[in-house]
């Protein structure tokens, strides 16, 4: 595929994804993942960390991600009930495709508003994606790498980054 067409496709995907997350339409968001998948956020002091050796902030497999999403839609997710408002800006999108494997990088700023505080999460996405039967993109590994040197004062990653 023409690389400009690929970038346009990926940008469009990421913008739609951002809308789903900001709208808390998490069940629709979950459908953007392949069956065998991970969602991870490396620790702030070790952005290149290995999930088999190091302590991440988040490293969900399909089961945990489903649990996370389901619980975020209930009142038992106290940190996010009532839901925070979020707004995400995605830019500097790059994508390459080889043998149906699509590698994506993009920059993000996610704003989380709650109790009249604004928490800002800045970082970069490093996604690995595949194409489903009809060609649509699906996450195999959705990775958000934070540029923050500590979660201070954000305290938590209770929203999806």
């Amino acid at each position: 595929m023409d690389r400009y067409a690929l970038r346009f496709e990926v940008e469009d995907f990421l913008y739609r994804e951002a809308d789903l997350l900001d709208a808390w339409d998490l069940l629709a968001w979950l459908e953007l993942f392949a069956q065998d998948c991970h969602y991870s956020v490396p620790p702030t002091d070790l952005p290149d960390a290995d999930p088999l050796q190091h302590t991440f902030l988040i490293h969900d497999d399909r089961f945990l991600l489903t649990q996370r999403v389901n619980s975020l839609l209930t009142k038992t997710a106290h940190a996010e009930w009532p839901h925070s408002r979020t707004r995400r800006l995605v830019s500097n999108v790059r994508a390459s495709e080889e043998d149906g494997q699509v590698s994506v990088s993009a920059n993000f700023a996610v704003y989380r508003m709650r109790y009249e505080h604004v928490d800002t999460y800045v970082g970069t996405y490093r996604h690995e994606m595949i194409r489903a039967e009809h060609g649509q993109l699906l996450f195999v590994h959705r990775k958000a790498v934070l540029d923050l040197d500590a979660l201070r004062p954000q305290a938590k990653v209770s929203i999806i980054l």
């Binding site: 956020v41 490396p42 620790p43 702030t44 002091d45 070790l46 960390a49 999930p51 088999l52 050796q53 190091h54 302590t55 991440f56 902030l57 988040i58 490293h59 969900d60 497999d61 089961f63 945990l64 649990q67 996370r68 619980s71 209930t74 038992t76 997710a77 106290h78 940190a79 996010e80 109790y115 040197d149 500590a150 979660l151 201070r152 004062p153 954000q154 305290a155 938590k156 990653v157 209770s158």
Partner: protein, 435 residues
């Protein structure tokens, strides 16, 4: 007796401790008043042993970690001879911090401001144009400063800013044996701190995190979504939280002396290990504790424990994983929290993967539990704005029970009694131990 007046209004004490009626209340002023925090710095953080780091975080000579402990910037490093050293992270010349990275390896610690250079034993080894100084200039007097006391117990390094403090082992008292229950699980390999640190914060008083870190009572209501995840993974939680069938206590709360305390239990949390090789290896390891340490101790090692080393070190073992957590107050309503994962060294890779997975699903800023703790403590702190009309928090659970369990609060009361002793000179007393 010290001069600090903890009275509120007209002679209302900060702590109400009525043993007979089973009444224990803490005045919320202790969590909101800047004067209280200022006094805590002098009377608690400048007098108690404070955790700096673990042996295994300094794998090689000249490895260093920059830490903040008791408000001071510290350098935690290992010198040429392999000895752990702790220095104040400030140039003796004019004050600039020497280590400006969180971690690294450096044979020399060089201040960029005027290029004074120190080795990892703290000796001033080079400076530009030394000849311009007079005869009183003495390199030996200008080495790096160190906290007056630096001691370790089983790989856990502490500092004390009080030169006259009791030694660390005496300070730990009965808590040392509880630390053994963690460390002995390493058998010949020992334990290690894994790479990747949870560095976060809370808009809440530090003492709320003390309470929360060994509070079994909050587990079900606050962490329902975590419990539901565990249940969905195939674990039958009714075995742990349902009716007790064998008549033996299933959990307990313990005063350990000097303000240290713990809750313990017989069965852990977390997703079940899948059937297969990893689960068998785990069972073999756990069974081997009995040969090495005897049945009674092995049973305790294989149980759970949430331990507070007064004032601000938490060690937790929930079977599925172990956490080391410490916190620094920056304001009455704001603290920095730092947490690391403790694991058995040279562990089977599949067991390690499962351990990491279980740790993360519960603990830390992205876990299914910790964010809800943060929310709870921040909600408490916001509620304390009404403390003039509603001055008291209740911490009396289990006060009249002969055998308090992990949903009781004796472990919190022993923290508060020691706090009151250090802050106000109130003599320390216990519910379930002598002296």
């Amino acid at each position: 007796m010290t001069a600090f007046d903890t009275s509120v209004g007209t002679h209302t004490p900060v702590i109400v401790d009525d043993r007979e009626k089973g009444k224990f209340r803490v005045n919320r002023r202790a969590m909101v008043d800047p004067d209280v925090l200022a006094l805590e710095r002098g009377r608690i953080f400048d007098r108690c042993w404070l955790y700096v780091g673990h042996d295994t975080e300094l794998a090689a000579a000249h490895d260093f970690r920059a830490r903040t402990v008791g408000g001071r910037p510290l350098i935690f490093t290992r010198n040429q001879d392999g000895h752990v050293q702790v220095f104040i992270n400030s140039c003796p010349h004019r004050g600039a911090t020497l280590c400006r990275e969180k971690a690294g390896n450096s044979r020399f610690l060089k201040c960029f401001y005027h290029a004074w250079t120190f080795d990892t034993s703290g000796t001033l080894v080079a400076l530009p144009d030394e000849r311009s100084y007079g005869p009183a200039f003495d390199r030996d007097e200008l080495g790096l400063a160190a906290p007056p006391r630096v001691e370790a117990y089983r790989g856990f390094w502490f500092v004390n800013y009080d030169a006259d403090a009791v030694d660390l082992l005496t300070y730990l008292g009965d808590a040392a044996e509880v630390i053994d229950l963690f460390c002995d699980q390493g058998l010949d390999d020992g334990l290690e701190i894994l790479g990747g640190t949870h560095e976060y914060s809370m808009r809440a008083n530090w003492k709320l995190l003390v309470e929360n870190s060994f509070d079994g009572y909050h587990a079900m209501p606050t962490h329902q979504r975590y419990m539901e995840m565990v249940q969905a993974s195939g674990v039958d939680l009714s075995k742990q939280f349902g009716k007790n069938t064998d008549g033996r206590p299933r959990s307990w709360g313990v005063e350990l002396g000097n303000g240290h305390g713990m809750v313990g239990g017989r069965s852990g949390l977390g997703r079940a290990l899948p059937e297969g090789r990893a689960k068998e290896l785990d069972a073999v390891r756990r069974a081997s504790y009995a040969q090495a340490f005897g049945e009674e101790k092995a049973e305790r090692m294989n149980g759970t424990r949430n331990l507070l080393i007064f004032p601000n070190l938490i060690l937790i073992d929930l079977g599925m994983g172990m956490v080391v957590r410490t916190f620094e107050p920056l304001a009455p309503d704001y603290q920095h929290v730092t947490a690391w994962q403790l694991a058995v060294r040279n562990e089977d890779p599949e067991l390690r993967r499962l351990r990491l997975d279980n740790f993360l699903s519960f603990w830390g800023p992205g876990g299914l539990a910790t964010p809800d703790d943060v929310e709870a403590l921040e909600c408490c702190q916001r509620g304390f704005a009404g403390s003039k009309e509603l001055p008291w928090s209740d911490i009396s659970r289990g006060m009249t029970k002969p055998y308090p369990n992990s949903t009781d609060e004796v472990q919190m009361r022993t923290f508060w009694r020691r706090w009151d002793e250090l802050m106000n000179g109130t003599p320390m007393s216990y519910e379930h131990r002598d002296g």
